[in-house]
Assembly symmetry: D2
Homo-oligomer: 151 residues x 4
């Protein structure tokens, strides 16, 4: 894994603040479990409300936490006064989301001045054993001068 | 828009049955508003629980209903005894999901024996005016002999 | 198809100049056959040098002219002093590239200040009949103050 | 990197045979430099014919060898009597293709019975130093009973 330097020593607080304001994360039940320069981990325990027609985690839910993990990985490398927006992502589903917990790990692949490219790998844990269930490749944009928290 | 023929005259019931079993759709508040051969429309009214850090629809939520709209568009063209799985999708966000309603319209681009390629366009409606907010390009697989409802 | 306004009335000359300097286009044998605000068409006749293992157009060649068609569609909407770069693209192959001619049609879906999202559809013509063979969804970036031709 | 088992001990010969019949590879000047179970490396020296408007490797050329590297990585894991087709790929360009040599390394992420997901990383070498210039995420399909060489 590549090592990155961030221009903002308070990057972890900034990510936690932004995550706390993504109300969809609380609604789904996701928690931010790790933040480092250029990386971020999000976990989501299963509940029946998150399932598709076979009773597994819905692909869109897998994409939601994968997108957030990759996006916050990118956000750790942005200046203190910037906001982050997802430009696009592509996700391949590798196995059904059959298990009791999803773990999404985002990492930055390339940090440019305006655009950041991230990857996020999502695993599903069943009876304590983790299986890769999705991988995302993502483009994020730095919104300069548009901090996520005003005030 | 291309016109498709479906091998299963009961395709609309089949889609409605499967949608009803995607509990995440009820959890989000989404409804299936239109089904035709090779196309499907899903609507999702805004509620604060679905928002990202700026108070707009979260990108992952937009992806979830886009994925479902494109996936069910594909499912309308599958045989009665088949199930549908998303292989992968790519989504470009075109504008913030700022509004009171999302409308996702899926349509099949190419229906092969095993794989189907769909597009889904998602619009956001604000004060009655719709703006395109995302477009998805998607690959689905026909799971032969694995109907979505057993019994 | 959406209608776009371009800030540069000389956009067509600008696209033709840039295309002429993409030596790979001449090497492949591609020609720029149409340019309008937010759209661009490129054609490529078959020659055995462009084929994959089955004797059809190679997927990478299809991607190359699709990428260029979508990229130049975006470039028509950029200011006179800007350059264009592809950020990313995703291509679905819809049918084998079996025929005597490829036609790639790029069109802009959304033109933002920094980023432009394009779609490109590639058809293959066999004995005078065109079949869709690929579709691309693409993100381009405006390189401000970096014109493509200096001097 | 994951380790894979292949059902065909002659996989390397099979890949080399197929590569030799992709005439576009010889036309571009690409060579197959490494093949292992679930991985493949392709190299392409620069020549002016491969360049875009700034004199760098064209993005489509980068995509072409990336697609082939990921596709042949997948093909190493297929049965002896099968052919391989690219379903779709997504490529993010990470840096300009500015250098004297491209190296594309494909590796399988997930090998299913019908579909294989691969990643390909493309580096550009300038004055002996390699820089990542693109990454691809790809879906391939196994064409059962359709061997690539008949006869």
């Amino acid at each position: 894994m590549k090592h990155f330097q961030t221009p903002d020593p308070r990057f972890a607080d900034r990510v936690r603040d932004s995550f706390a304001r993504q109300t969809v994360m609380e609604f789904l039940g996701a928690t931010l479990t790790e933040v480092g320069p250029g990386r971020c981990e999000i976990r989501l325990p299963f509940k029946p409300e998150l399932s598709q027609q076979h009773g597994y985690f819905h692909g869109g839910v897998i994409g939601t936490i994968g997108d957030s993990a990759g996006g916050y990985a990118a956000y750790t490398l942005m200046p203190a006064d910037a906001g982050v927006l997802t430009v696009e992502y592509k996700m391949n589903l590798l196995a059904p989301g059959d298990g009791e917990l999803l773990i999404a790990r985002g990492q930055v692949l390339k940090a440019g001045r305006t655009l950041i490219v991230s990857r996020a790998d999502v695993g599903v844990v069943k009876q304590g054993r983790e299986t890769p269930c999705a991988t995302l490749l993502q483009t994020l944009i730095t919104m300069k001068g548009k901090p996520e928290v005003q005030g």
